[in-house]
């Protein structure tokens, strides 16, 4: 499971490097709200696995400071929504320190947190805020979609020297998938083809990967062969992988759970039109959340973020569908 893969990564890296420690709300005694850190207190003691008060600004400040001083902190923030309290430390301190010290100072700070809609936890506990961090030069933005990537990326995060926004999804903790034992590292900037296909390139990340794969399977029954590309890290972004896939399929759908306006999908679309304009046979489709706060009502919540059918419809739009009705008729 995704949460066990994360635990494995933290456990192995704490074992390997004494400078790795983790702090957060309810992560020690309770083992974390999503049970990612269960058992770590008993193994590593309260000096390295430490509960904090409900004070995100303080926790993030402690993490950034410890990282500057040479430690390798993991700060777990219960909801990404709460990370907003620490934005000054993240945006103005952690992201800038390396440049402003001429590269002498590094900030190997890892903030683990989770976002996304699902479960009716309303507007302040459901946001997808990766675009805020994506926008800030100096931060790495990591969004694993499957257990193996979660482990490999977190292990890599704890070995590199820049601030990492490690963004999990509340729906993925219980998702299952194979996870390699022991030394399994996924470098940043290396995307992954989650399903290979030839008709359309579908770019998604985090919880939109399982949703896109479901859509792809449904489309396969209609003879539409979708390639699902998971960049895994938004910063750095694996442009090569994306452009190679676009050159193959000539059509692109980008799926993000976050609201459409000012989103990462728009930026990826701009990169594609700039670097692969003459590979495009159809306008790029973006499937994204509505430009609204996430509603509390479960039905409205569902309507506000992309669903499988939205993805299917977008894929068909960019395929000029008569081509496929013709194929099915043959």
């Amino acid at each position: 499971m995704y949460r066990e893969a994360l635990r494995e990564a933290i456990d192995e890296e704490m074992e390997r490097n004494k400078l790795v420690f983790i702090i957060g709300e309810g992560i020690a005694e309770r083992g974390g709200s999503y049970k990612v850190t269960e058992g770590l207190l008993a193994k590593y003691g309260s000096l390295r696995v430490r509960d904090t008060p409900i004070a995100e600004a303080g926790m993030i400040g402690v993490g950034v400071g410890a990282a500057i001083a040479g430690a390798r902190p993991i700060v777990e923030i219960l909801y990404i929504d709460f990370a907003m309290l620490g934005m000054d430390m993240i945006v103005n301190q952690a992201a800038k320190f390396r440049l402003m010290t001429g590269g002498d100072g590094r900030v190997p700070f890892v903030m683990r947190t989770q976002g996304g809609a699902g479960g009716g936890v309303a507007a302040q506990h459901s946001q997808s805020l990766e675009a805020l961090f994506y926008h800030i030069p100096g931060l790495k933005v990591v969004m694993p979609s499957v257990p193996a990537d979660a482990k490999g990326l977190l292990k890599y995060a704890l070995r590199q020297d820049d601030p990492v926004m490690f963004l999990e999804h509340k729906h993925l903790y219980m998702s299952k998938g194979p996870v390699p034992d022991g030394e399994h590292i996924v470098e940043f900037g290396k995307g992954d083809i989650k399903r290979s296909g030839k008709d359309v390139t579908l770019i998604a990340w985090s919880n939109m990967i399982p949703r896109s794969l479901e859509a792809a399977e449904a489309l396969a029954k209609e003879g539409i062969d979708v390639e699902v590309v998971d960049p895994r890290t938004l910063v750095p972004l694996d442009k090569e992988l994306i452009l190679t896939s676009v050159a193959k399929t000539n059509r692109v759908v980008i799926v993000q759970e976050a609201v459409r306006r000012g989103g990462v999908a728009s930026d990826i679309a701009s990169i594609i039109q700039e670097e692969a304009f003459y590979d495009l046979d159809a306008p790029i489709e973006i499937v994204a959340g509505l430009n609204i706060p996430i509603p509390f009502n479960l039905e409205l919540e569902k309507a506000s973020v992309p669903q499988k059918d939205d993805v299917i419809a977008a894929v068909k739009r960019c395929l000029h569908p008569e081509q496929f009705t013709a194929r099915a008729a043959n």
Binding site: N250, Y278, D279, L280, D281, A282, R317, H320, E322, Q323
Partner: protein, 425 residues
């Protein structure tokens, strides 16, 4: 396609005119200059003339109606043609515009036929069309809102290519035979032979080129192992080579060409979709009108080894440098095949007597990569004096005591020059 005769601008500030007479009715055939109607403003009356010929397919206004200036008054088309619904203005006698005198008549006047301005196509479709020399505006679009998409271009391309092919042969990308001449790494160097030759002609040269790049030869249509197209022509030849290179994924490459192959290479270097890094052109065709017509006909007609050898000797300055094997290979390649007939057809489309019918001078002007021309001063096929007035960015090497085949007679020097061009590219 429907054309409209518009209500004339009857005065500077006037937006309306009254239709006082219609001299045509539906189905009438009009010719250019016919007076089709009369309209009048508060100040004057105007005769309206047809500016083109056609059949009257619609009359939006009746006599006595108030018409809006610059709106269609008479719509011409082909018999049986109708005007698109969305573009139809009121047909019921009273024009709706007439009720709104305040509206600006020109601003939102819907022209009846927007095929020019409303043209839509995907970037990929445009690129592939341009590479293949297809005028995309002539295609029918099957994409959203009639946009021309890749499959529309492909269908024309496949149809077109089939019509070029000899019966029973598919002239798709695979109709251009290519073969590796030397293995290597980096951007490939693609060699294009001259008229009547084949890719094997390059073998003596490749080992004299001191670079590590992969070297690939291709057979032009109707040469070597590439079939003869049904219809021959310079543009078709360039297009089929371009299609073959793109289909093989060789879009970034260096080109080396000889004679007719050099002309093909020069034009390929200006094609969108190909990233040609450098050009080495030996004894290129297409620089001027002159070519040795006697040689062409004698070469094509020769049926025996002595006859062919007699003509082929004029390819070189030093007779000993013409390998006997080359004469035999040329003869063997023709025997029992349609190549000779295909080459004759090709020659007819490229040359008329001693005149070359195509030019690469415009292409050379556009070339933005290192470009080198190598000619023999004693070339008896294409006179070397046609290399005057080349664009300043083209390097020219005129080799003394060398004929039409510098890569054969001066292989070490030519090899060195190819390498220098490739390294610069």
């Amino acid at each position: 396609m429907a054309d409209s005769i518009l209500v004339p601008q009857v005065g500077q500030d006037l937006t309306e005119a009254k239709v006082v007479a219609l001299h045509v009715k539906l189905g009438d055939i009009v010719k250019k200059g016919d007076v089709v109607a009369e309209v009048e403003s508060e100040k004057a009356s105007f005769e309206v003339e047809a500016f083109a010929a056609g059949t009257v397919i619609q009359l939006p206004y009746g006599v006595g109606d108030t018409a809006t200036v610059l709106q269609p008054l008479v719509i011409l088309g082909n018999p049986g043609e109708t005007v698109g619904k969305a573009e139809t203005v009121g047909t019921s006698g009273t024009a709706p515009q007439a009720l709104q005198p305040e509206s600006k008549p020109t601003a939102d006047a819907p022209p009846l036929s927007q095929t020019g301005d409303g043209f839509r196509s995907s970037p990929l479709a445009r690129r592939v069309a341009a590479v293949n020399g297809i005028d995309i505006k002539r295609l029918n679009g099957s994409g959203p809102k009639g946009a021309i998409v890749l499959r529309d271009v492909k269908s024309v391309l496949q149809g077109g290519m089939r019509s070029l092919a000899s019966p029973g042969q598919h002239a798709d990308a695979s109709s251009i035979n290519t073969r590796s001449l030397r293995t290597g790494t980096g951007d490939p160097i693609v060699f294009i032979h001259g008229f009547g030759a084949e890719l094997a002609a390059w073998r003596p040269l490749v080992d004299s080129i001191p670079v590590d790049n992969l070297m690939v030869g291709l057979d032009l249509p109707a040469h070597g192992a590439s079939p003869a197209p049904g219809q021959a022509g310079f543009e078709q030849m360039v297009a089929s080579v371009a299609v073959a290179l793109i289909a093989a994924g060789r879009t970034r490459l260096h080109l080396v060409g000889h004679s007719l192959g050099a002309a093909v290479a020069a034009v390929l270097a200006t094609q969108q979709g190909l990233d040609v890094r450098s050009l080495t052109l030996m004894s290129p065709a297409g620089l001027g009108p002159k070519i040795n017509g006697d040689f062409l006909s004698g070469f094509l007609d020769a049926k025996s080894e002595p006859a062919l050898k007699a003509w082929m000797l004029s390819l070189v300055h030093e007779p000993a440098s013409l390998p006997g094997a080359m004469v035999r290979a040329t003869l063997n390649a023709r025997e029992g095949t349609e190549l000779a007939a295909g080459q004759s057809r090709l020659a007819k489309s490229l040359f008329s007597g001693s005149t070359q019918l195509f030019s690469i001078r415009d292409a050379l002007k556009q070339v933005g990569v290192p470009c080198r021309i190598i000619v023999g001063r004693e070339d008896a096929i294409i006179p070397s004096d046609q290399t005057e007035n080349l664009p300043g960015h083209v390097a020219i090497h005129k080799l003394a005591r060398i004929g039409h085949l510098p890569f054969l007679e001066a292989a070490p020097l030519v090899g060195r020059l190819v390498a220098e061009t490739v390294r610069a590219g």
